[in-house]
């Protein structure tokens, strides 16, 4: 979590971290020396996973930079969701090791946003209590929880009636609540599994802006699974392109466009070039078998 530090990315655009003090943030950080010179990495080694006779991953190795937004794109059934389910600890892997800058999954603070917000939120709790819930699991006292939630809502200018039950909210509002619930713990790594695929197009565009806002503000390492190439390019520092199964890395494409990426950016020639390149790699991989 480098949110309290303003940092300059490779493309030269300064990412201003948040300016609001978080007294409890420091305590919850892993006891680890701050290394600004060295890029922290997510390292996946020897990952194996099969479902029955179907081998999805066989000795899959990859290193990904932290504090970046990485989108994952690939052919249907290549195991995009399976990958983030495993490296987030939701799904057991058959073999392999995942380290977040040398730390195991258990030692890393992880949050996960599910595709199906309807089935991921707790409908018996009000929206606000849904957001409180992970802090409750962490055992924080009520006062601290309320402070944190208030801070979070102020940071992102949320205009949703959070005293409502989730099922009374619109799809986009429900997914926003899911995302807030994921952010409230101030995770080191945030996983988003096709978070907008159940939303209509208008809402999707709006939510893409929201995600950028969150990322630019917190600088949290974010892994986004997407089935929409435009989204995968627009919302990423790097696009991880996967092959058909048994899945390998086809290419890691550096996007390098300036943030924030408005809808206009998606018609920019550089954007179109990157997207075309990704599409070529994608087709090559789809036709490979």
């Amino acid at each position: 979590m480098t949110s309290s530090v303003a940092r300059v990315s490779a493309d030269g655009i300064a990412r201003v971290g948040e300016d609001l003090p978080h007294p409890e943030r420091r305590e919850t950080e892993p006891p680890m020396p701050k290394t600004s010179a060295r890029q922290r990495m997510i390292s996946i080694q020897g990952l194996k996973k099969s479902f029955g006779d179907t081998v999805i991953y066989d000795n899959f190795d990859i290193e990904l930079p932290q504090e970046e937004l990485i989108s994952i794109f690939g052919p249907n059934g290549c195991g995009k969701s399976t990958l983030i389910n495993m490296i987030s600890g939701l799904m057991p892997m058959d073999a392999g090791e995942v380290l977040y800058d040398g730390q195991t999954i258990k030692e890393t603070k992880i949050s996960y946003v599910f595709q199906n917000y309807r089935e991921a939120l707790f409908p018996w709790l009000r929206a606000i209590d849904n957001i409180h819930y992970p802090l409750k699991v962490m055992g924080l006292p009520r006062r601290t929880r309320e402070e944190r939630v208030e801070q979070l809502l102020a940071d992102f200018e949320i205009k949703i009636d959070l005293n409502a039950y989730p099922y009374t909210l619109s799809g986009g509002q429900q997914q926003t609540v899911s995302i807030l619930r994921a952010l409230v713990t101030e995770p080191e790594v945030l996983f988003l599994d096709e978070p907008f695929s159940a939303l209509d197009y208008e809402m999707t565009l709006f939510m893409r802006e929201q995600i950028q806002k969150i990322y630019l503000k917190t600088g949290t390492t974010t892994l986004l699974v997407s089935h929409d190439l435009e989204e995968a390019v627009q919302l990423a520092d790097k696009v991880l392109l996967l092959t058909r199964r048994p899945t390998r890395v086809a290419e890691i494409v550096d996007v390098g466009l300036p943030w924030p990426r408005t809808t206009q950016v998606t018609t920019d020639s550089r954007f179109v070039d990157i997207k075309r390149h990704c599409l070529e790699v994608f087709w090559r991989e789809v036709k490979a078998s």
Binding site: S111, F114, E119, A120, F122, W124, V137, M138, Y165, Y167
Partner: protein, 280 residues
């Protein structure tokens, strides 16, 4: 009278409660329409009854006038003797449901938690669920004697099976995503049970509860008819039949029906309040 064969399978939520559901819905409509809708059915029933009675379509020795029945029932209620029988039956049903719930919910959760455990016991549960509860009367009479305890025990047993079955299914069909979501936040298994699975199970628990109440009522009424009862609606109905008190018999049947309907409606209202998210 085969109480045990009433199907309480999951996914049959609306069976037997569609009427009450409609009434609930009707309660939200404007008052005048609501009153009209609610009274139309009963008025129709009384009209058909009266036509059958007045037109002598049915033997007069078997069918009294609806108005005489209502009048006599009102007198019986005012005198308090029907209220006594009504309450006795209600208390027995309440006891059996209380016992069935207290013993059924935890056991259902425990069985549902381990898929393999439930699968291995499924046959036994299904077998007894399909056995007419009334067929067990003699056994329970041997075990508990002629008193109230035997009646309550049979009803509780039949209701318990339905509750166990439904709760276990509720646990097994809990949304995996919600469980995963809680786990991804680092919740312990106990916490997931308490905070997620319990709530996930509630809609199915209420389905079980409503079916269990219907079954318990059937069993209690039958037990009151045939095994040494001195009061209760079952006893009252069979007594009126034996002594040929036609209006009392019809009135008592209607009162027993009202009890069943009222219990179902009451539970439905409680369910809608507690499980407000159900089906949304």
């Amino acid at each position: 009278m085969h109480a045990g064969t009433v199907d309480a399978g999951p996914g049959r939520k609306n069976q037997g409660s569609s009427m009450s559901a409609r009434i609930l819905k009707a309660l939200k409509k404007p008052k005048a329409r609501r009153c009209a809708e609610l009274t139309l059915g009963p008025v129709f029933l009384v009209a058909v009854w009266w036509i059958a009675f007045a037109g002598e379509l049915v033997n007069k020795d078997l069918l009294p006038s609806p108005f005489a029945t209502i009048a006599d029932t009102a007198v019986a209620i005012a005198a308090g003797d029907m209220i006594h029988d009504f309450l006795q039956t209600l208390i027995r049903v309440a006891y059996s449901i209380a016992i069935a719930t207290v013993l059924g919910v935890p056991i259902g959760i425990a069985l549902g938690a381990k898929d393999s455990v439930y699968r291995s016991l499924e046959f036994v549960i299904d077998f007894f669920r399909s056995t007419p509860a009334t067929a067990m009367f003699p056994l329970f009479l041997l075990l508990f004697g002629l008193g109230d305890i035997a009646k309550i025990a049979v009803a509780a047993f039949a209701a318990w099976l339905v509750i166990v079955f439904n709760v276990a299914y509720g646990v097994m069909n809990a949304r995996q995503t919600r469980i995963l979501a809680a786990r991804s936040m680092g919740a312990s298994s106990l916490r997931i049970f308490k905070d997620v699975i319990f709530f996930e199970t509630l809609p199915q628990t209420f389905v079980g509860l409503r079916t269990a109440v219907s079954i318990a009522l059937v069993v209690i009424i039958v037990a009151e008819m045939f095994i040494g009862a001195v009061d209760g609606m079952g006893h009252r109905i069979i007594d009126a039949q034996i002594s040929y008190q036609l209006t009392d018999m019809y009135g008592s049947i209607l009162a027993a029906g009202a009890m069943g309907y009222g219990l179902n409606l009451g539970l439905l209202i409680v369910e809608k309040t507690i499980v407000h998210w159900s089906g949304r």
